[in-house]
């Protein structure tokens, strides 16, 4: 092996050529099969931005309708579709995805990695997002958009006469996108924890990585309750199960709980990454490291935690007991404290540095000025008595836009101006940037400040018209004028980004003289970093002398791609010590095929095309199995390799030190959260009724206990199979796997027999419905568990799973740990709990 220090210039050029070839994108139309994080990040971000412009146009249409009282510009129905889609698109198709996009684009170079650990998963997430997004947005052109408001309160949204197909489009389209979000969260968590450059200990990570780690963790706990809610909702809409129907024991408030357990953390899921961008921008332009690194990290963690305890402040007027209102008022106020700390960290950093007031800083500080108003009105509406007046009025519309536009959109535009040189090696126009800033800043305040007053003067939100004599007309007219000034500013940004710039000379690589690692990456190269450096500072480009040139001369790890694989380093979670040389997936169609076929399943379900949905479902399964079979847990041609600087690392690891195991663990935590939400539903119904069974027969205790015993036996058989595999007894291992397989099938049948043998009719009442949904959830997971067992058997029979290379089996065992917990909870709840009441 040639050590980089001794390699000749020619040798280094050959290395670079090989590396370039490995990371190259396909040409022609195959370009779209690329999975490289730069491409995916760019496509993802552009699509999210385009959806934002679309939702912005909807907002302008609404402002035109509201400019004058009793206006006829839009019909009531179209207006209702417009505001529903505006909120939905901004939240689900712009605010969250844009950060997933930025993270996918920025994290690898920032962490000194070649790629995130699952590039194909990123690509799959992007295509899912695009298909789902186009489906949801397109519905308005067929007058079929959802029109029940972006939080879809039943019974309005479950009323088929009112909402038509729109509600199904919302539920299924967004469930599909939520899957993409969770995929991105898994990618980000594993990437940040396991793929940092050697030496980049966790307390040296760029703040952006810290924030994204926190946010991805929040996605993992926030989105699953909504997915569980979507499931209940769609069961009611498709099959008339009465989850939210008060006449049959359901309760519309359960949806509000599930939605806001998602919806409030969502606000911070949107806000924290924007703060993360600020945390990268402010030190660069204050020309010094951030002041209070540990303060801001702790504050971000605190915000993330607290954000899960605030959801009831969206429900202050639903008639909950005063004592819980007081509790949630206090919790809602508490979150202002870590938020304040984060703002003051930026101010302190600016005070301690020499500030250059560039366009990104202009958007950043302007964003703070706006956001602080949103924060202060947030403090107001967090107090229940004030919220009783302000709730569901234009005061709230103003508040949430001050928070989201000041706390999210302005920092994103700052980020675009800051990071554009990483996309095109040129800066955006300073002149246009300042013009856009002042238009947006003034336009925003002119548009939204009067809304506070309109709300306090009694204007409810979501009204398509208002009387002429009630005192809101000039406030609304001013808002409309402001909205158009604001939109003109956004247009300037779009023009600045899209105008051709190839005639301008290429700029410097680190034009702002920033200190973090992403600034050595060059837009012309797909490899992220030429070689993976050893990091000893939070701001390596400021503190580590000659780092950039040594990296670019390939003097660090993995400067070559001798075997023709895309490789990056896996390091330990806390200290970033190198553990493995990870081969990541390359260009492939399979991501597009899986995403398209899964999208087709959701679209077919919307229109009740059952056969098409089934066929597409089978195609999706086949595509995913093909993907796993050909692309994961491949046995390398040699067990170890020299990654440079004399370091020899394994090419294959399994169990807790592998990225696949982490991904499975994280997925199952999210999955478990969704399951917990369903169990919450069961007990919620129990608490609101004197007798929530309504005297109907339950599943009994016999079949649930039989099912539980069989599932636990299947789990034990699987554990035995793993032990036998470790001992090098493949034949006995396969036998044990087959036993597990039969036990799983038996357990599923017994689980089904519980409610079936007692003729529980899920459309009759909430009790049979919630029992059935728990059983169905369990059985669906058992079916996946069964497929995994078959998969391991097949891998073992084809020699792709051995005692040494056992990643598949270990990940399946991990899945089964979670499955056995699910089984214990499900069958104890449905089989034993009724005995206790």
């Amino acid at each position: 092996m040639t050590r980089p220090e001794t390699a000749s210039v020619k040798g280094r050029q050959a290395q670079a050529e090989r590396l370039r070839a490995v990371w190259d994108n396909p040409s022609g139309w195959r370009y779209w099969t690329s999975v490289n994080n730069f491409q995916i990040g760019l496509w993802y971000g552009s699509a999210a931005f385009a959806f934002m412009l679309f939702a912005g146009v909807l907002a302008l249409l609404m402002r035109m309708q509201l400019a004058l009282p009793e206006n006829n510009f839009l019909s009531a129905d179209l207006f209702n579709q417009a505001f529903t889609l505006h909120g939905t698109v901004m939240m689900f198709l712009f605010a969250v995805p844009i950060f997933e996009a930025i993270a996918i684009f920025l994290l690898p170079p920032m962490l000194g990695a070649r790629e995130l650990p699952f590039p194909r998963l990123s690509a799959f997430g992007f295509w899912s997002f695009l298909i789902g997004g186009v489906f949801v947005c397109g519905s308005i052109f067929f007058n079929a958009a959802p029109s029940s408001g972006w939080f879809m309160y039943p019974p309005l949204a479950t009323d088929k006469d009112f909402s038509g197909i729109g509600a199904d489009i919302w539920l299924l389209g967004l469930s599909f996108i939520e899957i993409a979000s969770i995929a991105a969260a898994i990618e980000i968590i594993v990437g940040v924890m396991k793929c940092r450059a050697p030496g980049m200990r966790i307390n040296m990570m760029p703040l952006f990585a810290w924030y994204l780690l926190i946010v991805a963790g929040m996605i993992l706990f926030a989105f699953p309750p909504l997915i569980a809610g979507d499931l209940l909702f769609e069961m009611q809409r498709m099959f008339d199960w009465p989850f939210f129907d008060a006449q049959r024991g359901g309760d519309p408030l359960l949806w509000q709980h599930l939605f806001w357990i998602f919806g409030h953390p969502e606000v911070y899921i949107i806000f924290l990454p924007a703060i993360a961008l600020m945390a990268m921008i402010v030190p660069t332009f204050a020309q010094r490291p951030i002041v209070g690194y540990s303060w801001i990290v702790l504050a971000a963690v605190g915000t993330g935690f607290l954000s899960f305890g605030l959801w009831v402040h969206h429900m202050f007027t639903t008639g909950l007991p005063q004592i819980s209102l007081a509790f949630f008022s206090a919790a809602s106020e508490a979150v202002a404290i870590p938020t304040g700390v984060q703002i003051f960290v930026f101010i302190a950093t600016m005070l301690a540095g020499k500030v250059i007031l560039s366009v990104p800083m202009l958007f950043g500080t302007g964003g703070i000025a706006i956001f602080v108003i949103g924060g202060l009105t947030g403090v107001m509406v967090a107090l229940a008595p004030f919220d009783w007046q302000a709730h569901d009025t234009y005061f709230i519309v103003a508040h949430l836009h001050y928070v989201l536009i000041g706390g999210m959109l302005f920092p994103v535009i700052a980020g675009i101006y800051y990071y554009y040189p990483l996309v095109d090696a040129r800066k955006l126009s300073d002149h246009l940037g300042r013009l856009a800033f002042w238009q947006m800043f003034i336009g925003f305040n002119v548009a939204f400040f009067p809304m506070h007053l309109a709300g306090l003067r009694g204007m409810p939100r979501r009204v398509f018209t208002y009387p002429a004599d009630i005192g809101w007309h000039w406030l609304n007219l001013i808002s409309t004028v402001g909205a158009f000034i604001f939109a003109a500013g956004v247009l300037v940004v779009v023009i600045d980004v899209l105008r051709p710039k190839h005639h301008a000379p290429r700029g410097e690589t680190n034009p702002w003289n920033a200190g973090t690692l992403e600034w050595i990456s060059e837009p012309e190269e797909n490899w992220g970093v030429r070689s993976i450096p050893i990091i000893t500072s939070r701001y390596p480009l400021w503190d580590q002398k000659n780092l950039a040139s040594e990296i670019n001369e390939g003097r660090f790890y993995l400067p070559d791609a001798q075997e023709g694989y895309r490789e990056t380093l896996v390091t330990s979670v806390l200290d970033a010590e190198p553990l493995q040389c990870l081969r990541v997936g390359g260009t492939s169609y399979v991501t597009i095929v899986s995403a398209a076929s899964l999208g087709a399943v959701f679209i077919a379900l919307t229109f009740h095309w059952w056969i098409t949905a089934l066929i597409c479902g089978v195609v999706t399964c086949a595509a995913i199995i093909y993907w796993l079979w050909t692309g994961t847990a491949e046995i390398p041609e040699k067990p170890r390799k020299d990654v440079g600087l004399g370091l020899i690392l394994p090419l294959y690891v399994s169990g807790p030190s592998s990225v696949g195991w982490w991904a499975m663990f994280i997925t199952m935590v999210g999955d478990g959260t969704a399951f917990a939400s369903l169990v919450f539903g069961y007990f919620f119904y129990w608490t609101i009724h004197d007798d929530f069974t309504a005297g109907l027969a339950g599943p009994g205790s016999f079949w649930p206990m039989v099912a539980l015993a069989l599932f636990l036996a299947a789990w034990l058989a699987l554990l035995t199979a793993r032990t036998l595999n470790d001992r090098g007894q493949p034949f006995a291992m396969r036998l044990s796997l087959m036993a597990a397989l039969f036990l799983t099938a038996g357990g599923s049948a017994a689980g089904f027999m519980g409610p079936w043998s007692h003729a529980m009719a899920p459309t009759a009442h909430i009790y049979p419905a919630i029992v059935w949904i728990l059983v169905i959830w369990m059985l669906a997971h058992a079916a996946v568990g069964l497929m995994m067992q078959v998969y391991c058997l097949a891998r073992s029979l084809t020699g792709r799973l051995t005692d040494e290379y056992d990643m598949d089996l270990r990940n399946v065992v991990l899945y089964w740990h979670f499955l056995s917990i699910t089984a214990v909870v499900t069958f104890a709840v449905i089989g034993l709990f009724p005995l206790a009441i």
């Binding site: 639903t318 005070l351 007046q389 306090l456």
Partner: protein, 350 residues
């Protein structure tokens, strides 16, 4: 009967029409007056012109927070602007770190603790923690419907319940308990001038107690989005002197003097009674609003039209154009004469 009812309402307050003109003047004709007008002319549906106990408390709370918030905002923005200036000698890291501690953590914690303490002290007075021991004299049940309000008065003296719709009258100076329900989707009951809102949720009964402190005419909107014509669902509120209110209620308990007037036959012959009730006639439908005294209500169509014969006729002819998504079918196919007769009849039901 009718005369003394109107006198008691209109005598004490600014009449509706005059009020309307007053703020129109403020809005368009005299822009220079706008700032002084912000709170002063906000009209009949404003939380900034409290006429009830809860609204007044919240109004004070709002001004307190608004002033404090404005000072904090100015402070933060001044600090940001100061920090944005290029400086030769930056502040020390220690001084900046102390700013995070004091400005970001300690100061907000103290302010928020004070604010919360104040609010918790305020809350039981606004909406009691537990149900009041002595039940209020008057209970009014309001049921939200798409897109109107079913109103039933339960007088405290044990006399019969009185059914009405889309208008709520209540005595000044007496606590009134509202029981709020819904038959279809979630609505929210809100009289900004008197107090905050409370949702009406199918399957649940929510309670809200309000105390009007000034006589007047107000307006309440539906505050929770409830479908196509959510924007067109409102009601008028009349806060009256208790004596006048008592008289009004006892009058409403009886059927109108004009129930047998011309038009009654047309109303019944065209099937209107299948959905509407007119006390003292064969019309006993309960699907739509009770029309027993519809002629005396201030507005028509749940707070969206002035109440006169022309608007009644228009509503009968094309309810779906006035209120998209309304359940009432259009009766435009009836002879024009019949519609006018029915409209005149309904307007006469006082």
């Amino acid at each position: 009967m009718r005369a003394d009812c109107r006198a008691s309402v209109d005598g004490g307050i600014v009449p509706f029409m005059r009020h309307r003109n007053a703020h129109r003047l403020g809005g368009f004709a005299v822009p220079a007056l706008l700032p002084s007008c912000l709170a002063g002319c906000s009209g009949i549906q404003s939380a900034l012109e409290p006429a009830g106990e809860e609204a007044a408390s919240v109004f004070n709370l709002f001004w307190f927070m608004f002033s404090g918030g404005a000072i904090i905002w100015l402070g933060v923005v001044a600090l940001v602007m100061y920090a944005s200036r290029a400086r030769q000698n930056p502040h020390s890291e220690r001084a900046s770190g102390l700013l995070i501690l004091w400005g970001g953590a300690i100061f907000p914690s103290a302010v928020l603790a004070l604010l919360l303490g104040f609010t918790f002290w305020l809350m039981p007075g606004i909406r009691p923690w537990t149900a009041l021991a002595d039940a209020p004299q008057l209970r009014i049940e309001v049921v939200g419907e798409q897109f109107w309000w079913r109103v039933t008065y339960f007088p405290g003296d044990g006399s019969d319940a009185v059914v009405s719709a889309n208008e709520i009258r209540l005595p000044v100076g007496q606590r009134v308990e509202f029981t709020l329900k819904s038959n279809d989707v979630i609505h929210s009951f809100w009289i900004p001038s008197l107090g905050g809102k409370m949702d009406m949720i199918p399957g649940r009964t929510n309670r809200l107690s309000l105390l009007a402190t000034k006589p007047g005419i107000f307006r309440g909107p539906c505050a929770e989005y409830c479908g196509t014509s959510h924007a067109l669902m409102a009601f008028s509120v009349v806060a009256m002197e208790p004596m006048a209110f008592g008289k009004w209620l006892s009058r409403c308990a009886k059927s109108s003097e004009n129930v047998a007037a011309a038009g009654s036959d047309a109303f019944l012959a065209n099937g209107c009674g299948a959905c509407h009730t007119i006390k003292g006639t064969e019309a006993t439908g309960v699907i739509g609003p009770d029309l027993s005294h519809v002629g005396s209500r201030r507005t028509l169509g749940a707070g969206i039209l002035p109440n006169n014969e022309a608007t009644i006729a228009r509503f009968i002819t094309e309810p779906d154009r006035i209120k998209p998504g309304v359940q009432m079918p259009a009766f435009g196919m009836l002879p024009h004469q019949d519609i006018e007769t029915i409209a005149a009849y309904l307007k006469g039901l006082k």
